[in-house]
């Protein structure tokens, strides 16, 4: 059905929208109601003076009635229908759909385009893993070296009576191959680290917020000296590309500004200098909440503190709102965090300080001292149950304890086989 043959549908749509009866409009346009009915059902072509009259009666420009929805929109809708694989799509009425519900049609077309672009992303990520030539070459080299070493070592081990000349040769080969293996492994690790670096520039709002905080070293001098405003900092940040990310950053910076006013940096650092990085004592000294101190500690640049710190903040659902990364304490990028973090214990007993020494699963098995509290974020009231956020400051623990709480980052990448908190299997297997 050609698009210009849909003028009738648009007239009908407008008329119904304006609450005018068919007979009424017909009278105004000086035609019979039955003729208007034929027009409205696209059974009579309409143009010229009659179209102008009807448009005037309906209070719209004639072009609104005569011009259909954008051709591109319709093309996209057709594509969407084709890709859905459903046979019952009313393809013959796509013009009518786009003409009568332009808003809905736009939504559908936009979503279809978005799905397509996401599919392309997934495809390219999958391709990168499966076909990344660098990765494939690296792995091939690694396995080749391992094969040579295994074979050679096997020979030396299984053959006691091996001629000295051969023995020397195999020892030399073993040495050569192990050196090359070390090099290949190093290359691979460097490569994977590099991959990680680019991946953190991803574009979920949470990731953008993380990147934004990190590039500012978690510290905002303009807010410390009250010489700038959160709005301006957010506006000027090229890392924050989405509305959601800017909104999240604004919240974080508002809280930062509020804290900075109550605990000016010079006085705060001076107090830390005197009594150490002891949030409870600092809270007493300044007569502020423990959560304020925890946030404030994580708002100081690393070189101003006696040791590096990390911070995670979650809401009542456990969703991570803010994270300051501390080396060795891995924070999940996408999924839910480890249920055994003291952060969540704090969430289950609001307003009570929680301290825990944890050991992070991983090669280095680093230990950390975690200081956490869940604090109210809504006004105190008898009428409404308050909402809480939990805050956890993470400090490196150098003198290791015997019985730390064993934690991980997130189940999916946690190697701990026996854990009562496991909620899904790990993708990690033993070895490579």
């Amino acid at each position: 059905m050609a698009r210009d043959s849909l003028v009738g549908s648009r007239i009908r749509e407008r008329r119904v929208m304006n609450g005018i009866r068919q007979a009424e409009l017909a009278t105004q346009a000086e035609i019979s109601a039955s003729y208007l009915n034929l027009i409205e059902h696209n059974k009579r072509r309409i143009g010229g003076k009659l179209l102008v009259n009807i448009a005037a009666a309906l209070g719209v420009e004639p072009s609104v009635l005569s011009e259909g929805a954008e051709a591109a929109l319709i093309a996209t809708l057709r594509e969407a229908a084709a890709s859905s694989g459903k046979t019952e799509v009313e393809l013959d009425r796509v013009d009518e759909f786009a003409g009568r519900f332009p808003g809905w049609a736009e939504v559908l077309a936009d979503q279809y385009k978005q799905v397509q672009s996401l599919e392309r992303t997934v495809q390219s990520l999958t391709d990168r893993l499966a076909h990344d030539p660098h990765l494939a070459t690296s792995m091939h080299e690694l396995l080749t070296m391992v094969t040579a070493i295994r074979s050679t070592a096997g020979i030396l081990h299984e053959n006691d009576q091996i001629e000295p000349e051969w023995q020397g040769r195999f020892h030399r080969n073993l040495n050569e191959d192990s050196l090359r293996l070390a090099e290949s492994a190093q290359t691979l690790v460097t490569y994977l680290d590099g991959q990680d670096e680019t991946a953190t520039k991803g574009s979920s709002p949470q990731e953008e917020l993380d990147a934004f905080s990190k590039e500012n070293n978690y510290h905002f001098p303009a807010l410390e000296t009250a010489s700038g405003w959160p709005e301006d900092l957010v506006k000027g940040a090229s890392t924050l590309t989405t509305v959601a990310a800017r909104d999240m950053a604004k919240r974080v910076l508002d809280a930062y500004q509020h804290d900075a006013k109550r605990l000016p940096r010079p006085a705060f650092l001076e107090a830390i200098n005197q009594i150490g990085l002891k949030p409870d004592l600092l809270a007493q000294r300044f007569d502020v909440s423990l959560s304020t101190i925890l946030r404030r500690c994580a708002a100081m640049p690393d070189d101003a503190l006696p040791m590096p710190v990390g911070l995670v903040v979650c809401d009542g659902s456990g969703a991570l709102l803010f994270r300051r990364q501390l080396r060795g304490f891995s924070l999940p990028r996408f999924s839910a965090a480890c249920a055994k973090w003291p952060l969540f214990k704090a969430l289950s007993q609001p307003m009570q300080p929680v301290r825990g020494i944890v050991e992070m699963a991983g090669h280095d098995a680093d230990q950390f001292e975690c200081l956490a509290i869940a604090d109210r974020i809504s006004a105190v009231s008898f009428e409404k149950t308050p909402l809480y956020n939990a805050y956890m400051l993470i400090l490196p623990r150098l003198d290791k304890v015997e019985d730390p709480r064993l934690v991980g980052s997130t189940c999916r990448i946690c190697p701990r086989a026996k854990c009562e908190g496991r909620n899904m299997p790990s993708i990690l297997t033993q070895g490579i």
């Binding site: 494939a136 091939h140 094969t147 040579a148 070493i149 295994r150 074979s151 096997g154 080969n173």
Partner: protein, 122 residues
């Protein structure tokens, strides 16, 4: 007379190790280390078994095996394929082009020996 195995592999230390193992077990081992003229090597050396690496300079093991299977005199020659990738895709590929056996690196010496013995029905 001992059976002859032709090892087509480009990693010198793997060649050395496998040659040693198979020679000790009584095999007559000949080697070749590139893909370009691997077909000629098979025709000239007349082996009873071929051990063929997938990743070779010049031509891939799959291409070489495809050619071998297309020729009457080598159509049923026992071929053990070696690959550094254990993916199902690689295994399927090896099966499709007609590998008699397929082995993933890293393998043990015993496994190679068992495989070639199995291929000549020893």
């Amino acid at each position: 007379m001992s059976k002859r195995v032709l090892l087509i592999e480009d990693e010198p230390n793997i060649i050395e190790a496998i040659s040693f193992i198979l020679s000790r077990a009584g095999w007559d081992v000949v080697t070749h280390s590139n893909g370009h003229d691997a077909i000629e090597a098979v025709q000239n050396r007349q082996p009873d078994v071929v051990i063929l690496d997938v990743m070779l300079p010049g031509r891939s093991g799959y291409e070489i095996l495809t050619d071998l299977r297309a020729q009457d005199e080598t159509a049923s020659l026992p071929v053990l394929m070696l690959t550094a990738r254990g993916q199902t895709k690689d295994r399927e590929m090896a099966e499709r082009v007609g590998a008699s056996l397929f082995m993933t690196k890293p393998f043990s010496n015993g496994e190679v020996l068992d495989a070639v013995n199995q291929l000549v029905g020893a």
